[in-house]
Protein backbone atom coordinates (compact mmCIF):
# COMPACT_ATOMS: atom_id res chain seq x y z
CA UNK A 1 0.00 0.00 0.00
CA UNK A 2 1.26 3.46 -0.85
CA UNK A 3 2.10 6.02 1.79
CA UNK A 4 0.16 9.25 1.87
CA UNK A 5 0.95 12.47 3.66
CA UNK A 6 -1.87 13.09 6.14
CA UNK A 7 -2.51 14.96 9.32
CA UNK A 8 -3.28 12.89 12.39
CA UNK A 9 -6.92 13.85 12.61
CA UNK A 10 -7.65 12.79 9.04
CA UNK A 11 -5.63 9.61 9.51
CA UNK A 12 -7.88 8.64 12.43
CA UNK A 13 -10.88 9.28 10.23
CA UNK A 14 -9.58 7.19 7.36
CA UNK A 15 -8.55 4.39 9.69
CA UNK A 16 -11.93 4.44 11.38
CA UNK A 17 -13.75 4.20 8.08
CA UNK A 18 -11.58 1.27 6.98
CA UNK A 19 -12.23 -0.35 10.34
CA UNK A 20 -15.89 -0.37 9.41
CA UNK A 21 -16.99 2.64 11.44
CA UNK A 22 -20.40 3.58 10.05
CA UNK A 23 -21.46 6.30 12.44
CA UNK A 24 -19.63 9.39 13.56
CA UNK A 25 -21.11 12.01 15.86
CA UNK A 26 -19.06 15.08 16.60
CA UNK A 27 -19.01 18.67 17.66
CA UNK A 28 -16.40 21.22 16.59
CA UNK A 29 -13.45 21.92 18.84
CA UNK A 30 -9.84 22.72 18.11
CA UNK A 31 -7.51 20.84 17.67
CA UNK A 32 -9.58 17.97 16.31
CA UNK A 33 -11.74 19.67 13.70
CA UNK A 34 -10.01 18.01 10.76
CA UNK A 35 -11.33 14.68 12.01
CA UNK A 36 -14.91 15.92 12.13
CA UNK A 37 -14.51 17.45 8.69
CA UNK A 38 -12.95 14.27 7.31
CA UNK A 39 -15.94 12.29 8.53
CA UNK A 40 -18.40 14.75 7.02
CA UNK A 41 -16.76 14.44 3.65
CA UNK A 42 -16.67 10.63 3.74
CA UNK A 43 -19.75 9.54 5.73
CA UNK A 44 -22.40 12.22 5.42
CA UNK A 45 -23.61 11.07 2.00
CA UNK A 46 -22.49 7.45 2.10
CA UNK A 47 -25.24 4.83 2.05
CA UNK A 48 -25.68 3.04 5.34
CA UNK A 49 -23.46 5.56 7.10
CA UNK A 50 -24.24 8.46 9.37
CA UNK A 51 -22.47 11.70 10.13
CA UNK A 52 -24.07 14.15 12.50
CA UNK A 53 -22.66 17.38 13.79
CA UNK A 54 -24.48 17.24 17.09
CA UNK A 55 -25.67 20.28 19.02
CA UNK A 56 -23.19 19.47 21.79
CA UNK A 57 -20.64 16.94 22.95
CA UNK A 58 -23.21 15.49 25.32
CA UNK A 59 -25.61 14.90 22.49
CA UNK A 60 -22.80 13.38 20.41
CA UNK A 61 -21.77 10.81 23.03
CA UNK A 62 -25.40 9.84 23.53
CA UNK A 63 -25.87 9.42 19.78
CA UNK A 64 -22.87 7.10 19.93
CA UNK A 65 -24.69 5.26 22.71
CA UNK A 66 -27.70 4.89 20.43
CA UNK A 67 -25.72 3.75 17.39
CA UNK A 68 -23.82 1.25 19.52
CA UNK A 69 -27.14 -0.11 20.76
CA UNK A 70 -27.88 -0.84 17.11
CA UNK A 71 -24.69 -2.90 16.98
CA UNK A 72 -22.66 -0.81 14.55
CA UNK A 73 -19.23 0.71 14.99
CA UNK A 74 -19.59 4.28 16.19
CA UNK A 75 -17.15 6.98 17.14
CA UNK A 76 -17.02 10.47 18.56
CA UNK A 77 -14.14 12.85 19.05
CA UNK A 78 -13.45 16.03 20.91
CA UNK A 79 -10.81 17.78 22.98
CA UNK A 80 -10.41 18.31 26.70
CA UNK A 81 -13.38 20.52 27.67
CA UNK A 82 -15.64 18.57 25.37
CA UNK A 83 -14.40 15.29 26.78
CA UNK A 84 -15.27 16.47 30.28
CA UNK A 85 -18.83 16.90 29.08
CA UNK A 86 -18.90 13.33 27.81
CA UNK A 87 -18.05 11.76 31.16
CA UNK A 88 -21.60 10.84 32.11
CA UNK A 89 -22.12 9.31 28.70
CA UNK A 90 -18.89 7.31 28.91
CA UNK A 91 -19.94 5.98 32.30
CA UNK A 92 -23.24 4.86 30.75
CA UNK A 93 -21.45 3.18 27.83
CA UNK A 94 -19.19 1.30 30.23
CA UNK A 95 -22.10 0.34 32.46
CA UNK A 96 -24.23 -0.88 29.56
CA UNK A 97 -21.23 -2.75 28.10
CA UNK A 98 -21.49 -0.92 24.80
CA UNK A 99 -18.49 -0.68 22.45
CA UNK A 100 -17.54 2.81 21.32
CA UNK A 101 -14.44 4.73 20.34
CA UNK A 102 -13.85 8.14 21.84
CA UNK A 103 -11.00 10.32 20.61
CA UNK A 104 -9.54 13.01 22.85
CA UNK A 105 -7.13 15.28 20.98
CA UNK A 106 -6.32 16.93 24.24
CA UNK A 107 -5.26 20.53 24.76
CA UNK A 108 -4.02 22.73 27.56
CA UNK A 109 -6.21 23.02 30.62
CA UNK A 110 -7.83 23.48 33.02
CA UNK A 111 -10.77 25.63 31.95
CA UNK A 112 -10.89 26.89 28.40
CA UNK A 113 -7.12 26.77 28.58
CA UNK A 114 -5.22 26.75 25.32
CA UNK A 115 -5.56 24.88 22.06
CA UNK A 116 -1.95 23.73 22.16
CA UNK A 117 -0.99 20.13 22.82
CA UNK A 118 -1.05 18.77 26.39
CA UNK A 119 -1.37 15.46 28.22
CA UNK A 120 -3.24 16.79 31.25
CA UNK A 121 -6.24 14.53 30.76
CA UNK A 122 -4.35 11.37 31.72
CA UNK A 123 -6.11 10.99 35.07
CA UNK A 124 -9.51 11.62 33.51
CA UNK A 125 -8.86 9.05 30.81
CA UNK A 126 -7.33 6.32 32.97
CA UNK A 127 -9.23 6.75 36.24
CA UNK A 128 -12.65 7.21 34.76
CA UNK A 129 -13.58 10.88 34.83
CA UNK A 130 -17.14 9.71 35.10
CA UNK A 131 -18.92 8.31 38.15
CA UNK A 132 -18.74 4.73 39.32
CA UNK A 133 -16.28 1.85 39.27
CA UNK A 134 -15.36 1.46 35.64
CA UNK A 135 -12.35 1.72 33.38
CA UNK A 136 -11.91 2.49 29.73
CA UNK A 137 -9.09 1.13 27.59
CA UNK A 138 -6.85 4.08 26.76
CA UNK A 139 -4.53 4.04 23.75
CA UNK A 140 -1.72 6.59 23.38
CA UNK A 141 -0.26 6.91 19.87
CA UNK A 142 2.88 8.93 19.22
CA UNK A 143 2.89 9.27 15.44
CA UNK A 144 0.38 9.67 12.65
CA UNK A 145 1.01 6.08 11.57
CA UNK A 146 0.29 4.87 15.08
CA UNK A 147 -2.85 7.01 15.25
CA UNK A 148 -4.12 5.09 12.25
CA UNK A 149 -3.08 1.68 13.56
CA UNK A 150 -4.44 2.25 17.06
CA UNK A 151 -7.71 3.61 15.72
CA UNK A 152 -8.36 0.32 14.02
CA UNK A 153 -7.23 -1.54 17.13
CA UNK A 154 -9.54 0.60 19.25
CA UNK A 155 -12.61 -0.58 17.37
CA UNK A 156 -11.54 -4.20 17.61
CA UNK A 157 -10.88 -3.96 21.34
CA UNK A 158 -14.15 -2.14 21.92
CA UNK A 159 -16.09 -4.93 20.24
CA UNK A 160 -14.08 -7.76 21.77
CA UNK A 161 -14.52 -6.49 25.32
CA UNK A 162 -17.76 -4.58 24.85
CA UNK A 163 -16.33 -1.44 26.36
CA UNK A 164 -15.68 2.15 25.36
CA UNK A 165 -12.10 2.72 24.23
CA UNK A 166 -10.40 6.09 24.32
CA UNK A 167 -7.66 7.30 22.01
CA UNK A 168 -5.68 9.93 23.87
CA UNK A 169 -3.84 12.15 21.44
CA UNK A 170 -3.06 15.85 21.49
CA UNK A 171 -2.98 18.92 19.28
CA UNK A 172 0.41 18.15 17.76
CA UNK A 173 -0.54 14.62 16.79
CA UNK A 174 -3.83 15.82 15.37
CA UNK A 175 -2.39 18.70 13.33
CA UNK A 176 0.91 17.21 12.24
CA UNK A 177 1.22 15.61 8.81
CA UNK A 178 3.34 12.52 8.37
CA UNK A 179 3.47 9.74 5.79
CA UNK A 180 1.01 7.01 6.71
CA UNK A 181 -0.26 3.76 5.24
CA UNK A 182 -3.41 1.85 6.08
CA UNK A 183 -3.75 -1.84 6.75
CA UNK A 184 -7.11 -2.31 5.02
CA UNK A 185 -7.54 -1.50 1.35
CA UNK A 186 -11.23 -0.76 1.65
CA UNK A 187 -13.73 -0.21 4.49
CA UNK A 188 -14.47 -3.48 6.29
CA UNK A 189 -17.99 -4.78 5.81
CA UNK A 190 -19.31 -5.78 9.21
CA UNK A 191 -22.68 -7.10 10.27
CA UNK A 192 -24.39 -5.71 13.35
CA UNK A 193 -23.20 -7.15 16.70
CA UNK A 194 -25.35 -10.09 17.71
CA UNK A 195 -26.34 -8.44 20.98
CA UNK A 196 -27.70 -5.43 19.09
CA UNK A 197 -31.13 -3.91 19.62
CA UNK A 198 -32.79 -3.87 16.23
CA UNK A 199 -36.25 -5.14 17.11
CA UNK A 200 -37.18 -8.45 18.72
CA UNK A 201 -37.48 -10.40 15.50
CA UNK A 202 -37.32 -14.17 16.03
CA UNK A 203 -35.89 -13.76 19.52
CA UNK A 204 -37.10 -12.57 22.93
CA UNK A 205 -37.04 -8.82 23.49
CA UNK A 206 -33.87 -7.40 24.99
CA UNK A 207 -33.22 -4.83 27.68
CA UNK A 208 -30.09 -2.70 27.97
CA UNK A 209 -29.97 -0.96 31.33
CA UNK A 210 -28.11 -0.42 34.55
CA UNK A 211 -30.67 0.97 36.96
CA UNK A 212 -31.72 -1.32 39.77
CA UNK A 213 -33.39 -0.97 43.14
CA UNK A 214 -31.32 -3.92 44.32
CA UNK A 215 -27.69 -2.92 44.92
CA UNK A 216 -26.64 -6.58 44.87
CA UNK A 217 -27.52 -6.71 41.16
CA UNK A 218 -25.41 -3.65 40.50
CA UNK A 219 -22.55 -5.08 42.51
CA UNK A 220 -22.72 -8.18 40.34
CA UNK A 221 -22.55 -5.99 37.22
CA UNK A 222 -19.47 -4.31 38.65
CA UNK A 223 -17.85 -7.64 39.34
CA UNK A 224 -18.54 -8.87 35.82
CA UNK A 225 -16.99 -5.66 34.49
CA UNK A 226 -13.94 -6.18 36.67
CA UNK A 227 -13.53 -9.79 35.61
CA UNK A 228 -13.41 -8.43 32.07
CA UNK A 229 -10.97 -5.73 33.11
CA UNK A 230 -8.74 -8.46 34.51
CA UNK A 231 -8.85 -10.24 31.17
CA UNK A 232 -7.92 -6.99 29.44
CA UNK A 233 -5.01 -6.47 31.81
CA UNK A 234 -3.76 -9.95 31.02
CA UNK A 235 -4.12 -9.79 27.26
CA UNK A 236 -3.93 -6.23 26.05
CA UNK A 237 -1.13 -4.35 27.78
CA UNK A 238 1.00 -2.75 25.07
CA UNK A 239 4.23 -0.79 25.24
CA UNK A 240 7.32 -0.03 23.26
CA UNK A 241 10.90 0.08 24.51
CA UNK A 242 13.86 1.94 23.06
CA UNK A 243 17.45 1.13 24.05
CA UNK A 244 16.12 -0.04 27.39
CA UNK A 245 18.15 -3.24 27.56
CA UNK A 246 21.45 -1.86 28.81
CA UNK A 247 20.00 1.42 30.07
CA UNK A 248 20.72 2.52 33.61
CA UNK A 249 18.09 5.24 33.36
CA UNK A 250 14.74 4.47 31.80
CA UNK A 251 12.61 7.37 30.64
CA UNK A 252 8.89 6.63 30.84
CA UNK A 253 6.82 8.78 28.50
CA UNK A 254 3.86 8.44 26.16
CA UNK A 255 2.52 10.12 23.04
CA UNK A 256 4.13 13.33 21.88
CA UNK A 257 6.32 13.56 24.97
CA UNK A 258 7.67 10.10 24.15
CA UNK A 259 8.64 10.89 20.57
CA UNK A 260 10.46 14.01 21.70
CA UNK A 261 12.16 12.13 24.52
CA UNK A 262 13.24 9.51 22.02
CA UNK A 263 15.22 12.13 20.12
CA UNK A 264 16.70 13.38 23.37
CA UNK A 265 17.73 9.85 24.33
CA UNK A 266 19.52 9.32 21.02
CA UNK A 267 21.63 12.39 21.71
CA UNK A 268 22.17 11.44 25.34
CA UNK A 269 23.51 8.12 24.10
CA UNK A 270 25.93 10.04 21.92
CA UNK A 271 27.05 11.73 25.16
CA UNK A 272 27.72 8.23 26.45
CA UNK A 273 24.78 8.15 28.86
CA UNK A 274 23.13 4.72 29.14
CA UNK A 275 19.55 5.93 28.76
CA UNK A 276 16.58 4.13 27.33
CA UNK A 277 12.82 4.48 27.18
CA UNK A 278 9.63 2.66 28.03
CA UNK A 279 6.68 4.05 26.11
CA UNK A 280 3.29 2.83 27.35
CA UNK A 281 0.97 2.40 24.38
CA UNK A 282 -1.95 1.33 26.54
CA UNK A 283 -2.25 3.82 29.38
CA UNK A 284 -4.95 1.61 30.81
CA UNK A 285 -4.15 -1.20 31.23
CA UNK A 286 -0.79 0.19 32.29
CA UNK A 287 2.43 -1.80 31.67
CA UNK A 288 2.94 -2.38 35.40
CA UNK A 289 4.64 -5.74 35.02
CA UNK A 290 7.10 -4.39 32.46
CA UNK A 291 8.11 -1.63 34.84
CA UNK A 292 8.53 -4.11 37.68
CA UNK A 293 10.74 -6.18 35.40
CA UNK A 294 12.90 -3.20 34.45
CA UNK A 295 13.11 -2.17 38.11
CA UNK A 296 14.24 -5.66 39.00
CA UNK A 297 17.27 -4.99 36.80
CA UNK A 298 18.34 -2.13 39.06
CA UNK A 299 17.33 0.54 36.58
CA UNK A 300 16.34 4.05 37.62
CA UNK A 301 13.35 5.92 36.22
CA UNK A 302 12.54 9.37 34.92
CA UNK A 303 8.95 10.13 33.98
CA UNK A 304 8.41 12.85 31.38
CA UNK A 305 4.92 14.13 30.64
CA UNK A 306 3.21 17.15 29.15
CA UNK A 307 1.34 17.70 32.43
CA UNK A 308 2.10 18.23 36.11
CA UNK A 309 2.73 14.56 36.83
CA UNK A 310 -0.13 12.16 36.27
CA UNK A 311 1.20 8.94 34.72
CA UNK A 312 3.87 9.38 37.36
CA UNK A 313 1.40 7.86 39.83
CA UNK A 314 1.01 4.71 37.77
CA UNK A 315 4.78 4.39 37.52
CA UNK A 316 5.16 4.78 41.28
CA UNK A 317 2.35 2.30 41.89
CA UNK A 318 4.17 -0.16 39.64
CA UNK A 319 7.55 0.45 41.27
CA UNK A 320 6.02 0.18 44.74
CA UNK A 321 9.28 1.41 46.21
CA UNK A 322 11.53 -0.81 44.11
CA UNK A 323 13.11 2.32 42.61
CA UNK A 324 12.66 6.06 42.73
CA UNK A 325 10.92 7.74 39.81
CA UNK A 326 11.80 11.36 39.22
CA UNK A 327 9.62 13.61 37.10
CA UNK A 328 9.86 16.38 34.54
CA UNK A 329 6.80 18.01 33.06
CA UNK A 330 5.69 20.89 30.93
CA UNK A 331 2.02 21.80 30.82
CA UNK A 332 -0.63 24.17 29.54
CA UNK A 333 0.33 23.43 25.95
CA UNK A 334 4.05 24.03 26.27
CA UNK A 335 5.89 21.35 24.29
CA UNK A 336 9.39 20.46 25.47
CA UNK A 337 12.20 20.48 22.92
CA UNK A 338 14.53 17.52 22.35
CA UNK A 339 17.52 19.52 23.60
CA UNK A 340 15.59 20.60 26.70
CA UNK A 341 14.81 16.98 27.47
CA UNK A 342 18.38 15.98 26.76
CA UNK A 343 19.54 18.40 29.45
CA UNK A 344 16.89 17.13 31.85
CA UNK A 345 17.88 13.53 31.22
CA UNK A 346 21.58 14.25 31.66
CA UNK A 347 20.95 16.16 34.88
CA UNK A 348 18.85 13.35 36.28
CA UNK A 349 21.45 10.80 35.18
CA UNK A 350 24.22 12.55 37.09
CA UNK A 351 22.05 13.36 40.10
CA UNK A 352 21.23 9.68 40.41
CA UNK A 353 24.95 9.00 40.29
CA UNK A 354 24.58 6.69 37.32
CA UNK A 355 27.59 8.04 35.49
CA UNK A 356 30.35 5.90 36.99
CA UNK A 357 28.15 3.21 38.48
CA UNK A 358 28.36 -0.34 36.96
Amino acid sequence: MVKVLMNGNSAIGEAAIRAGCQCYFGYPITPQNELTEYMTAHLSRKKGCTFIQAESEISAINMVFGASLAGVRAMTSSSSPGISLKQEGISYLAACELPAVIVNMSRGGPGLGSIAAAQSDYFQATRGGGHGDYRTIVLAPSSVQELADLTHKAFDLADRYRTPVMILGDGVLGQMMEPVEFDYEAPRKLTARDDALRGAKGRPSRIVKTFTSNPATLEELNWSLFRRYQAIKQAEVAWDTFMAEDAKLVVVAFGTAARIARGAIKNARKQGLKVGMLRPITLWPFPTEKIKELASKRKQFLVIEMNMGQMLEDVRLALNGAAEASFYGRTGGVIPTPSELQRVIARDYYQKGLKGRK
Binding site: A54, G66, A70, R198, G199, T210
Partner: protein, 251 residues
Protein backbone atom coordinates in the same frame (compact mmCIF):
# COMPACT_ATOMS: atom_id res chain seq x y z
CA UNK B 1 -69.93 -14.01 25.79
CA UNK B 2 -66.67 -13.13 24.20
CA UNK B 3 -63.77 -11.26 25.71
CA UNK B 4 -63.68 -7.80 24.18
CA UNK B 5 -61.01 -6.24 26.31
CA UNK B 6 -57.89 -7.83 27.68
CA UNK B 7 -54.24 -7.16 28.28
CA UNK B 8 -52.23 -6.36 25.11
CA UNK B 9 -49.74 -9.08 24.12
CA UNK B 10 -46.75 -6.72 24.13
CA UNK B 11 -47.45 -5.71 27.74
CA UNK B 12 -45.70 -8.14 30.06
CA UNK B 13 -47.74 -9.56 32.91
CA UNK B 14 -45.57 -7.80 35.52
CA UNK B 15 -47.71 -5.63 37.81
CA UNK B 16 -46.87 -1.94 37.50
CA UNK B 17 -44.75 -0.34 40.22
CA UNK B 18 -46.57 2.94 39.73
CA UNK B 19 -48.74 4.58 42.35
CA UNK B 20 -52.50 4.01 42.26
CA UNK B 21 -54.06 6.16 39.54
CA UNK B 22 -50.79 7.04 37.88
CA UNK B 23 -51.01 8.07 34.24
CA UNK B 24 -47.83 6.23 33.30
CA UNK B 25 -49.68 2.93 33.63
CA UNK B 26 -52.43 4.03 31.28
CA UNK B 27 -50.00 5.33 28.66
CA UNK B 28 -47.92 2.16 28.83
CA UNK B 29 -50.99 0.15 28.01
CA UNK B 30 -51.98 2.42 25.12
CA UNK B 31 -48.54 2.15 23.55
CA UNK B 32 -48.65 -1.63 23.82
CA UNK B 33 -52.11 -1.76 22.27
CA UNK B 34 -50.78 0.22 19.32
CA UNK B 35 -47.65 -1.91 19.04
CA UNK B 36 -49.95 -4.94 18.83
CA UNK B 37 -52.41 -3.37 16.42
CA UNK B 38 -49.68 -2.03 14.10
CA UNK B 39 -47.67 -5.24 14.39
CA UNK B 40 -44.55 -3.50 15.66
CA UNK B 41 -43.54 -5.95 18.36
CA UNK B 42 -40.48 -7.02 16.35
CA UNK B 43 -39.60 -3.55 15.13
CA UNK B 44 -40.24 -1.21 18.03
CA UNK B 45 -37.44 -0.05 20.32
CA UNK B 46 -38.30 2.01 23.36
CA UNK B 47 -36.03 4.41 25.21
CA UNK B 48 -37.33 4.96 28.75
CA UNK B 49 -35.86 7.72 30.90
CA UNK B 50 -34.65 8.11 34.42
CA UNK B 51 -37.94 9.00 36.05
CA UNK B 52 -40.87 7.11 37.47
CA UNK B 53 -40.92 5.26 34.15
CA UNK B 54 -37.34 4.09 34.58
CA UNK B 55 -38.61 0.52 34.89
CA UNK B 56 -40.73 0.73 31.74
CA UNK B 57 -38.47 -1.92 30.21
CA UNK B 58 -39.99 -4.37 32.66
CA UNK B 59 -43.42 -3.90 31.09
CA UNK B 60 -42.91 -3.43 27.35
CA UNK B 61 -42.19 -6.71 25.59
CA UNK B 62 -40.07 -5.03 22.90
CA UNK B 63 -36.39 -4.08 22.77
CA UNK B 64 -35.75 -1.37 25.34
CA UNK B 65 -32.71 0.62 26.36
CA UNK B 66 -32.16 3.00 29.25
CA UNK B 67 -31.09 6.53 28.41
CA UNK B 68 -29.20 9.07 30.46
CA UNK B 69 -31.48 11.72 31.92
CA UNK B 70 -32.72 14.02 29.19
CA UNK B 71 -30.75 12.43 26.38
CA UNK B 72 -33.49 10.20 24.98
CA UNK B 73 -33.75 12.16 21.75
CA UNK B 74 -30.00 11.89 21.15
CA UNK B 75 -29.93 8.16 21.92
CA UNK B 76 -32.95 7.61 19.68
CA UNK B 77 -31.27 9.63 16.93
CA UNK B 78 -28.14 7.50 16.95
CA UNK B 79 -30.17 4.31 17.15
CA UNK B 80 -32.66 5.15 14.40
CA UNK B 81 -29.98 6.43 12.03
CA UNK B 82 -28.02 3.23 12.52
CA UNK B 83 -31.11 0.99 12.28
CA UNK B 84 -33.58 2.80 10.00
CA UNK B 85 -35.79 -0.29 9.72
CA UNK B 86 -36.80 -0.02 13.37
CA UNK B 87 -39.51 2.08 14.97
CA UNK B 88 -37.92 4.07 17.79
CA UNK B 89 -39.81 5.87 20.51
CA UNK B 90 -38.57 7.72 23.52
CA UNK B 91 -40.66 7.82 26.66
CA UNK B 92 -39.85 10.94 28.64
CA UNK B 93 -41.10 12.93 31.59
CA UNK B 94 -41.40 16.69 31.62
CA UNK B 95 -38.23 17.12 33.64
CA UNK B 96 -36.43 14.81 31.31
CA UNK B 97 -37.65 16.27 28.02
CA UNK B 98 -38.29 19.92 28.86
CA UNK B 99 -35.52 20.70 31.37
CA UNK B 100 -32.24 18.84 31.06
CA UNK B 101 -33.22 17.46 27.65
CA UNK B 102 -34.24 20.78 26.09
CA UNK B 103 -31.35 21.01 23.62
CA UNK B 104 -31.36 17.34 22.60
CA UNK B 105 -35.11 17.41 21.98
CA UNK B 106 -35.24 20.67 20.04
CA UNK B 107 -32.32 19.78 17.80
CA UNK B 108 -33.49 16.23 17.12
CA UNK B 109 -36.83 17.72 16.08
CA UNK B 110 -35.06 20.34 14.00
CA UNK B 111 -33.15 17.64 12.13
CA UNK B 112 -36.47 15.97 11.48
CA UNK B 113 -35.25 12.76 13.04
CA UNK B 114 -37.69 9.95 12.31
CA UNK B 115 -38.40 9.18 15.93
CA UNK B 116 -41.43 9.44 18.17
CA UNK B 117 -41.38 11.05 21.58
CA UNK B 118 -44.00 10.12 24.16
CA UNK B 119 -43.90 13.10 26.49
CA UNK B 120 -45.51 12.60 29.89
CA UNK B 121 -46.42 15.97 31.34
CA UNK B 122 -47.37 15.50 34.98
CA UNK B 123 -46.26 18.98 36.04
CA UNK B 124 -43.74 17.60 38.55
CA UNK B 125 -40.61 15.55 38.93
CA UNK B 126 -42.26 12.36 40.14
CA UNK B 127 -39.39 9.97 40.65
CA UNK B 128 -37.33 12.32 42.75
CA UNK B 129 -40.20 13.22 45.03
CA UNK B 130 -42.30 15.96 43.52
CA UNK B 131 -40.01 18.85 42.74
CA UNK B 132 -40.95 21.63 40.35
CA UNK B 133 -40.90 20.66 36.68
CA UNK B 134 -40.62 23.11 33.79
CA UNK B 135 -44.32 22.39 33.30
CA UNK B 136 -45.33 23.08 36.90
CA UNK B 137 -48.22 25.56 36.86
CA UNK B 138 -47.91 29.10 38.16
CA UNK B 139 -48.57 29.10 41.88
CA UNK B 140 -48.44 25.32 42.10
CA UNK B 141 -46.80 24.00 45.24
CA UNK B 142 -44.05 21.43 44.89
CA UNK B 143 -41.23 20.40 47.18
CA UNK B 144 -39.00 23.00 45.50
CA UNK B 145 -41.74 25.62 45.23
CA UNK B 146 -43.17 25.33 48.73
CA UNK B 147 -44.54 28.87 48.43
CA UNK B 148 -46.08 28.12 45.06
CA UNK B 149 -44.27 28.64 41.77
CA UNK B 150 -43.40 32.30 41.32
CA UNK B 151 -43.09 32.79 37.57
CA UNK B 152 -40.65 35.65 37.83
CA UNK B 153 -38.28 33.81 40.14
CA UNK B 154 -38.80 30.21 39.12
CA UNK B 155 -39.91 30.59 35.55
CA UNK B 156 -43.18 30.22 33.70
CA UNK B 157 -44.71 26.88 32.75
CA UNK B 158 -42.76 25.80 29.66
CA UNK B 159 -44.80 24.86 26.60
CA UNK B 160 -42.38 22.50 24.97
CA UNK B 161 -44.84 21.26 22.34
CA UNK B 162 -45.47 24.79 21.12
CA UNK B 163 -41.71 25.43 20.99
CA UNK B 164 -41.14 22.22 19.05
CA UNK B 165 -43.89 23.18 16.63
CA UNK B 166 -41.68 26.13 15.63
CA UNK B 167 -38.83 24.01 14.32
CA UNK B 168 -39.17 22.84 10.77
CA UNK B 169 -38.20 19.22 11.26
CA UNK B 170 -41.25 18.52 13.40
CA UNK B 171 -43.97 16.68 11.50
CA UNK B 172 -46.66 15.93 14.04
CA UNK B 173 -47.24 17.23 17.56
CA UNK B 174 -50.39 16.76 19.60
CA UNK B 175 -51.28 17.32 23.24
CA UNK B 176 -53.69 14.87 24.84
CA UNK B 177 -54.59 13.76 28.36
CA UNK B 178 -54.87 10.44 30.19
CA UNK B 179 -57.61 11.47 32.57
CA UNK B 180 -60.92 10.20 31.16
CA UNK B 181 -62.24 7.50 28.86
CA UNK B 182 -62.74 10.00 26.03
CA UNK B 183 -59.32 11.62 26.42
CA UNK B 184 -57.62 8.27 26.76
CA UNK B 185 -59.19 7.16 23.48
CA UNK B 186 -57.96 10.39 21.84
CA UNK B 187 -54.52 9.82 23.33
CA UNK B 188 -54.39 6.42 21.72
CA UNK B 189 -55.29 7.86 18.32
CA UNK B 190 -52.57 10.47 18.67
CA UNK B 191 -49.95 7.91 19.60
CA UNK B 192 -50.91 5.75 16.65
CA UNK B 193 -50.63 8.72 14.33
CA UNK B 194 -47.22 9.59 15.77
CA UNK B 195 -45.93 6.09 15.09
CA UNK B 196 -47.43 6.22 11.59
CA UNK B 197 -45.66 9.53 10.98
CA UNK B 198 -42.37 7.87 11.82
CA UNK B 199 -43.10 4.85 9.67
CA UNK B 200 -43.94 7.15 6.77
CA UNK B 201 -40.57 8.86 7.29
CA UNK B 202 -42.15 12.29 7.66
CA UNK B 203 -39.95 13.48 10.52
CA UNK B 204 -40.14 14.11 14.23
CA UNK B 205 -43.37 13.26 16.03
CA UNK B 206 -44.32 13.92 19.63
CA UNK B 207 -47.38 13.28 21.75
CA UNK B 208 -47.58 15.26 24.98
CA UNK B 209 -49.82 13.56 27.50
CA UNK B 210 -51.18 15.39 30.52
CA UNK B 211 -50.87 12.66 33.07
CA UNK B 212 -52.07 12.37 36.67
CA UNK B 213 -49.54 12.14 39.49
CA UNK B 214 -51.87 11.72 42.49
CA UNK B 215 -48.96 11.10 44.85
CA UNK B 216 -47.16 14.36 44.25
CA UNK B 217 -50.25 16.37 43.55
CA UNK B 218 -51.52 15.15 46.92
CA UNK B 219 -54.89 14.40 45.42
CA UNK B 220 -56.94 11.25 44.96
CA UNK B 221 -56.77 9.71 41.50
CA UNK B 222 -60.25 11.00 40.77
CA UNK B 223 -59.42 14.53 41.92
CA UNK B 224 -56.30 14.33 39.81
CA UNK B 225 -58.31 13.51 36.70
CA UNK B 226 -60.61 16.43 37.39
CA UNK B 227 -57.67 18.76 38.04
CA UNK B 228 -56.32 18.01 34.59
CA UNK B 229 -59.62 19.06 33.00
CA UNK B 230 -60.26 22.03 35.24
CA UNK B 231 -56.79 23.48 35.75
CA UNK B 232 -53.95 21.89 33.82
CA UNK B 233 -55.65 21.80 30.41
CA UNK B 234 -56.23 25.54 30.83
CA UNK B 235 -52.51 26.17 30.77
CA UNK B 236 -51.78 23.32 28.36
CA UNK B 237 -54.64 23.28 25.83
CA UNK B 238 -55.40 19.89 24.34
CA UNK B 239 -55.38 19.28 20.61
CA UNK B 240 -53.21 19.02 17.53
CA UNK B 241 -50.42 21.59 17.74
CA UNK B 242 -48.68 20.78 14.48
CA UNK B 243 -49.57 18.44 11.64
CA UNK B 244 -47.40 18.34 8.54
CA UNK B 245 -48.37 14.77 7.74
CA UNK B 246 -50.97 15.80 5.21
CA UNK B 247 -53.32 13.31 6.89
CA UNK B 248 -55.68 15.53 8.84
CA UNK B 249 -57.70 12.84 10.63
CA UNK B 250 -55.70 11.83 13.69
CA UNK B 251 -55.59 8.05 13.49
Amino acid sequence: MKKIYTRPASLKRTPFHYCPGCGHSVVHRLICEIIDEMGLQDKAIGIPPPGCAVFAYNYFDVDMAESAHGRGAAVATGLKRAAPETVVFTYQGDGDLAAIGTAETIHAANRGENITAIFINNAVYGMTGGQMAPTTLSGQQTTTTPYGRDDRLEGYPVKMSEILALVKGSAYIERVAANSPANIRKAKKAIRKAFQTQIDGLGFSLVEILSPCPTNWKMSPIESCKWIDNVMAGEFPLGVILDRTGKKDAG
